[in-house]
């Protein structure tokens, strides 16, 4: 199955792809922190950051449409956070500021994940002596997200093939059952994965 959001790495032969993963990871992290520290009226700085990102995107030779699609997938999170700021005084200005800031940060992460394999990022974290529990959790999460997505897809397809009524209540009810089943299956799989890890010498 295809995972438009999860399968983010796009193989290309570009200068950005060739950069060491550590450089890209540090660069993206510094960029995010710099964006966060920018003052509210620093529109010039925002513009410079945006142009820098666009230049990097162009250098990476990843089609603009693909990058935009990925950004739009994650944009609702930024939008959700920014919408909250509308409730305060001077809200619209804060809304625009938060949205621009978050979009820049998200775009840098989209670029990082599109030009660097996730396993390379994990290696960098490992070498930088990041807590091993964190790295292992990230590795397992990345590995099993695909499986989980496939499982949801299969269950929904199976449900659809046996759904004959158009009643909305039925759809909600069967969706709830699918989600409940998924919880049970995931927890059972977690137990089996842990057993498989122990079987090959993990923390014995």
């Amino acid at each position: 199955m295809h995972h438009p959001l999860l399968n983010t790495y796009q193989h290309q032969r570009s200068p950005i792809h060739r950069l060491p993963a550590a450089v890209k990871l540090v660069g993206a992290t510094v960029f995010v922190f710099a964006c966060l520290l920018l003052p509210r009226h620093g529109w010039t700085a925002f513009a410079v950051a945006g142009v820098a990102l666009l230049l990097t995107a162009a250098l990476s030779r990843i089609p603009a449409l693909q990058l935009t699609r990925k950004l739009l997938w994650v944009e609702p999170f930024a939008l959700g956070v920014a919408l909250l700021s509308l409730l305060q005084t001077n809200g619209f200005q804060v809304f625009v500021f938060t949205l621009v800031k978050s979009t820049l940060c998200l775009f840098s992460m989209v670029l990082l994940s599109s030009t660097t394999r996730f396993s390379d990022i994990l290696h960098v974290l490992w070498r930088a002596r990041a807590p091993s529990l964190l790295v292992t959790t990230l590795a397992l999460m990345h590995r099993y997200l695909f499986l989980l997505t496939d499982e949801i897809g299969r269950m929904l397809r199976a449900r659809k093939s046996r759904t004959f009524s158009r009643g909305r209540l039925n759809v909600w009810r069967s969706s709830a059952t699918v989600i409940a089943h998924l919880f049970v299956r995931t927890s059972e799989r977690a137990e089996r994965v842990y057993a498989a890890m122990c079987a090959r010498g993990w923390k014995t």
Partner: protein
């Protein structure tokens, strides 16, 4: 000394359902034994006992011995290096981000690193016919390829007892044939839980029939699998291949 010694092994699931009842058998070094039985007979549960994944709370008197060592603390680390367990679902076993890392996982736990580790991984991948798959992602592999990567992970640990749970279940005919040749070539003791009775006929000299958690028959493959009434009584069938095995 026997490679595997199981003596009076019983196990109940957490809800109290008996899974294994007084199971006893042994395997000589280098022997290849088929473990057959209907669904829910306890085959997978039995295999999980062979390297101490089960029971969760080990009894004071261990029922399983591998090369004379009891499967219990403080020997579990050594036992898990000796016993390679192939899980029924390859996705449970492939938990690392790339093929190379997954095959390297076991040897790394054993303290291998650098060139030795790379050599071991390359050799194991070559053994299962997957050289060059190092950077592939597990979720991009076919079921058959996943199964072979799992097997490479066990070979990389240089286990001396392989406990294989349904090793041929996801393989196409070519993959199955290659698996059969590979298992035949491996000079290690193997216990193979499977419904693939033809595979058992082809590579196992002896079989153990498990039903409702108990050993109901044990002996040479041809005599057990040719016993039609025994096979039918335990949810099995006389394999087609045996019906046509006659001298020309």
């Amino acid at each position: 000394m026997n490679a595997l010694e199981v003596q009076g092994l019983s196990y109940d699931y957490a809800d109290g359902t008996p899974a294994l009842k007084d199971v006893s058998f042994s395997m000589a070094e280098g022997e290849r034994v088929g473990l057959i039985g209907p669904n829910g007979a306890g085959k997978s549960t039995l295999l999980l006992h062979l390297n101490g994944i089960l029971p969760e709370h080990p009894a004071s008197l261990p029922s399983v011995r591998v090369f004379g060592t009891s499967v219990a603390e403080p020997h579990l680390t050594a036992i898990r290096a000796q016993v390679g367990l192939l899980f029924q679902d390859p996705d449970d076993q492939l938990f690392c981000p790339s093929v190379w890392e997954d095959v390297a996982f076991g040897p790394q736990q054993l303290g291998l690193s650098g060139a030795k580790l790379s050599d071991r991984v390359a050799r194991s991948l070559a053994q299962v016919g997957l050289s060059g798959y190092d950077e592939r992602l597990p979720h991009h592999l076919s079921r058959g390829e996943k199964r072979r990567v799992c097997l490479a992970g066990l070979l990389a640990c240089e286990a001396c007892l392989l406990a294989l749970d349904e090793p041929s279940s996801d393989l196409d005919p070519r993959g199955r044939r290659e698996l059969k040749e590979l298992l035949k070539k491996l000079p290690v003791t193997q216990i193979i839980a499977t419904h693939d009775l033809e595979l058992v006929v082809e590579i196992c000299a002896r079989v153990i029939v498990l039903d409702q958690g108990a050993v109901v028959a044990e002996g040479p493959t041809s005599s057990i699998l040719n016993d039609e009434s025994l096979m039918l009584a335990h949810g099995l069938d006389r394999p087609h291949i045996l019906r046509h095995l006659h001298p020309h």
